[in-house]
């Protein structure tokens, strides 16, 4: 945590309400995001219990597993979830932009014109917290290798085609969520933390409802207040039955809820199913109908309690979306969202081309590529956020990586030689203390075209820089390219366009130090076996 965000937290403690950490919105928000509130069954890794999802805040849909230990019911749940989520993801497949580019012909080395498709928009999933993202990753891992009826060897329990497809998409989206600045899969707690500080610690901020209590008074609390009191009420207030008034945002449920509400409801459902099976075996039509009604009622009861456990979080996520929509979008958002659109388009193409699901473990080259991409995107994100948001730039100024101030004098100077070039000196009055020695290259923020300069002298309160570029080709600088006396300028010590990293070899050329070229077929997909 930086000193600036600590300061914001201190202010939040004083005001007992959230304080801004950004003046613009740094993540893309889709017009039509899909919100998912997943719940997991306790005690088993990634065992789904329920999910509340949808794109319409007034019409969430609930899917549930009546008996979390029952693998058949779990498969049915995943099929239902896939039938809901995959069409949403695929609805972005058709609308495309055509981009003309060129590609080197591998044989002749000639540049050939190509037209590439780029999806005009991409899906966006929003979950309540980081644990929700991890849960989706587990669901993705457990379903992407499932065999379907179309496989040459469908196995004993073939899944609908959409189930492994859902797994591949979830794997792709959770992988992409690791890329800094990406917005295809977002956790609401992370989004809020980026834009506002609360008067509590990062740890406590992971609780979505408690975090929101610093923005808005929680529903059902008397008197309606925000801040620490409200957050504590959300964390710990229980009703007469000992149940939390605000259920946790999941995927883990409250143990008391499991014990007092969920376990009995599951037990009743199991009993109803047992009665139905008995009636089914005895071929008694009347009994069977009655038993079927019992099962239906038990399932409806389960749906009721699980809806009650997820609906408050559902509303919380949408409240968070409202808060974020209140911020103006940052200038570089379309640029970063285009990266997400490329990521979506490329995965769409891989699925369409019939490529196998993502392997259990990345080979050396893929892993190195992913790391390089994340590093590159991190650098890009930091630069773009600083340019988009004075508060983000303030962080860099506090760290001595940038300085801002007013131009108090401009001294026109030129290079020596036959065709002199402009090299004007700017005297900048600033309260900042950049870690800059004379001769150090600096970059002018918001300059179009890009402009470099070097530090001539840096005294407390006053920095003198010499502009080096971005003034045109003539002897006299282009009008407007040199700041005038009285202008506000910002210079950064970090470059404003991230450097390209060295290229990585093709997977087939993996050096032996990194395990050599990957062996094809080593990673045979497992089907139903690991579910038993």
């Amino acid at each position: 945590m930086s000193l600036l965000s600590t300061l914001a937290r201190l202010e939040a403690v004083r005001g007992q309400r959230a304080e801004p950490l950004a003046t613009v919105r740094h993540r893309h928000l889709s017009e039509r995001p899909m919100v998912l509130v997943p719940l997991a069954a306790a005690g088993e890794a990634g065992a789904p219990l329920a999910v509340l999802l949808g794109t319409d805040r007034d019409a969430p849909r609930l899917h549930l597993v009546p008996q979390p230990l029952n693998r058949t019911q779990r498969s049915e749940f995943l099929a239902a979830m896939a039938a809901d989520v995959v069409p949403y993801l695929e609805s972005f497949n058709e609308q495309v932009e055509l981009l003309e580019g060129s590609e080197k012909d591998p044989v002749s080395g000639e540049k050939l014109p190509v037209v590439r498709e780029l999806c005009a928009d991409a899906p966006q999933l929003i979950v309540p917290n980081a644990a929700g993202v991890a849960h989706l990753a587990l669901l993705g891992r457990s379903t992407r290798f499932r065999r379907t009826a179309e496989d040459p060897d469908p196995g004993e329990y073939p899944a609908p085609t959409r189930v492994p497809l859902l797994g591949r998409w979830l794997t792709h989206l959770t992988d992409r969520a690791q890329v800094p600045g990406s917005s295809m899969l977002l956790a609401m707690t992370g989004l809020l933390s980026r834009h506002w500080a609360t008067g509590q610690s990062n740890l406590e901020d992971q609780h979505l409802a408690a975090r929101l209590a610093w923005h808005l008074p929680p529903e059902g609390m008397e008197p309606a207040v925000t801040g620490a009191v409200a957050a504590e009420w959300v964390e710990s207030a229980r009703d007469a039955d000992g149940l939390l008034r605000c259920p946790p945002a999941g995927p883990a449920t409250d143990p008391k809820f499991d014990e007092r509400v969920l376990a009995p409801a599951i037990l009743r459902h199991d009993a109803a199913v047992a009665v139905w099976e008995q009636a089914d075996a005895s071929r008694d039509a009347v009994q069977e109908r009655r038993a079927a009604g019992l099962v239906e009622r038990a399932r409806a009861e389960l749906a009721r309690v699980l809806l009650a456990a997820t609906l408050p979080t559902w509303h919380d996520v949408w409240r968070g979306v409202d808060l974020l929509r209140g911020l103006p979008p940052a200038g570089h958002l379309p640029d970063r969202w285009e990266g997400d659109r490329w990521s979506f388009t490329m995965h769409r193409d891989r699925v369409a081309a019939g490529e196998p699901p993502q392997p259990r473990r990345d080979d050396a080259v893929t892993a190195a590529r992913k790391l390089a991409q994340r590093e590159r995107e991190q650098a890009k994100l930091e630069i773009q956020e600083a340019l988009d948001d004075p508060l983000a730039m303030a962080e860099r100024r506090l760290a001595g990586e940038a300085f801002a101030g007013e131009v108090v004098d401009v001294v026109p100077e030129w290079t020596q030689g036959k065709s002199p070039k402009p090299r004007p000196l700017l005297v900048v009055r600033t309260g900042d203390r950049p870690h800059a020695d004379p001769g150090r290259e600096v970059y002018r923020a918001h300059a179009e075209p890009a402009q470099r300069a070097e530090i001539v002298s840096a005294e407390p309160g006053e920095v003198v820089v010499r502009l080096l570029s971005g003034m045109g080709r003539r002897k006299d600088p282009e009008p407007g390219s040199v700041p005038a006396v009285g202008d506000q300028v910002v210079f950064t010590l970090f470059e404003l366009s991230p450097r390209q990293s060295a290229p990585l070899p093709e997977p087939a050329d993996t050096p032996w130090t990194h395990g050599g070229p990957p062996v094809v077929g080593e990673d045979s997909p497992a089907g139903a076996d690991e579910w038993e």
Binding site: L10, A42, E44, L203, D389, M393, R397
Partner: protein, 410 residues
């Protein structure tokens, strides 16, 4: 609880039992010890644990109950997993153990599982475990599994009783087995969870080193990397048993706990001795809940809170997930305006500014007077306050610019 094996109850033991009052003693388990070792500066927790006070009941009475609990589903699944392990005759344990210890495969191994008197008192169970360990270590060719043995460890002057899931003895040495419910997915497990399990197992290894030293009639070596050569001494690598992938199949992995062992040993030795904690305690303080015949606590809440506040705590937000009194200490930290409520790191950042009010006052001085940084230094503000004032100036400026862009709406 019966402590007669320690001889005559010492004055400090008597005082500890007074602190506890009429309630039965809660013994420390490895999880609590690991939590204690993570926050060795907390005198409140150290004293309450040494006295065996039921912190859950205490937190309830103070009006801020601990949010901990285990789901019945998780418990059932844990039991299922353990019984599956037993049903296979612990085969899943033997194979990796064999590899770890370098025992040839053709060697016939039949696992002896001695009765460790699970229904007896902890002191009796500890003696029984010691005897079983000595017996098993005496025959290097045999394989013995101690199922839920009981070990004793001296912590800050008071005994803690520990119950590992299992200990396997072979070749005169033993290996701690820790059974966990988180999965090993594609060959790797959540590092945070493995770390927690390793810290817990390190406590068991420490206790076993003490046990082996007691068997040999000596004291354990203080060097954390010294491998004990005594019969029955523990290996410094433990076996972690987890479900594999999404299945119920157990898989065992060796985990080296030498680092955790040395950390735990150092942290536990840093803990203030219980005598010292007791000496700092005002006369007459007790944490007795004074339960009536129906078991309902009658002690006035204010009086109890007063008693608790006589022992200083070292609160940090991490406490909420490890300590029953976390919510109580947090509300105290908030009332006092302590900066620790925002995180332990914040305190380092703010230097000598210990309260929210003081920090904000320092920040405001920078904004209001619009002082140049050099002037601030002349005013005698220390570096942390100076930086905070600088930060406040930058923040106010950025918000003014951003606010203008927002159309005046913040």
């Amino acid at each position: 609880m019966n402590v007669s094996h320690l001889g005559q109850a010492s004055p400090s033991l008597r005082r500890l039992s007074e602190l506890r009052g009429s309630a039965p003693q809660r013994s420390l388990d490895a999880r609590a010890l690991a939590a204690l070792a993570a926050n060795p500066g907390c005198r409140r927790r150290a004293l309450l644990d040494a006295a065996g006070v039921d912190k859950t009941a205490l937190a309830d009475r103070l009006g801020r109950p601990a949010p901990f609990g285990q789901s019945p589903f998780a418990i059932r699944r844990g039991l299922q997993f353990e019984s599956r392990l037993k049903r296979d005759g612990y085969a899943v344990l033997l194979e990796p153990l064999r590899r770890m210890l370098g025992v040839p495969e053709e060697e016939v191994a039949s696992l002896a599982v001695p009765d460790l008197l699970p229904s007896q008192s902890p002191a009796v169970r500890t003696e029984r475990t010691l005897a079983a360990l000595a017996e098993a270590a005496a025959d290097p060719a045999s394989w013995t599994l101690l199922d839920h043995p009981m070990l004793r460890l001296q912590v800050a002057g008071s005994p803690a009783y520990l119950e590992p899931d299992a200990v396997v003895v072979h070749g005169g040495r033993c290996t701690v087995v820790e059974i966990k419910s988180f999965p090993v997915l594609d060959g790797s497990a959540d590092p945070a969870k493995v770390g927690a399990a390793a810290r817990q197992a390190a406590v068991y290894v420490l206790a076993l080193q003490e046990a082996a030293a007691r068997l040999a009639g000596g004291v354990p070596s203080a060097d954390p990397y010294a491998v004990q050569e005594l019969p029955g001494a523990p290996e410094l690598t433990v076996l972690l048993v987890c479900p594999q992938d999404f299945s119920n199949r157990p898989v065992a992995m060796p985990v080296d706990v030498r680092r955790e062992l040395s950390t735990t040993r150092r942290q536990l030795s840093r803990m203030t001795g219980v005598e010292q904690l007791l000496a700092a305690l005002p006369e007459g303080v007790t944490f007795d809940l004074a339960r009536d015949d129906s078991g309902a606590p009658t002690r006035p809440v204010e009086e109890l809170a007063e008693a608790v506040s006589t022992v200083p705590a070292a609160y940090g937000p991490e406490c909420i997930s490890t300590c029953e009194l976390g919510f109580h200490c947090r509300s105290q930290a908030r009332c006092a305006g302590a900066v620790e409520q925002l995180g332990r790191g914040v305190r380092g950042e703010l230097g000598s500014l210990r309260t929210v009010e003081a920090a904000l006052a320092a920040a405001e001085r920078g904004v209001e007077q619009g002082l140049e940084p050099a002037l601030l230094a002349e005013l005698g503000l220390d570096e942390a306050s100076e930086r905070l004032a600088y930060a406040a100036r930058l923040r106010a400026e950025a918000l003014a610019v951003g606010g203008a862009r927002l159309g005046g709406v913040r």
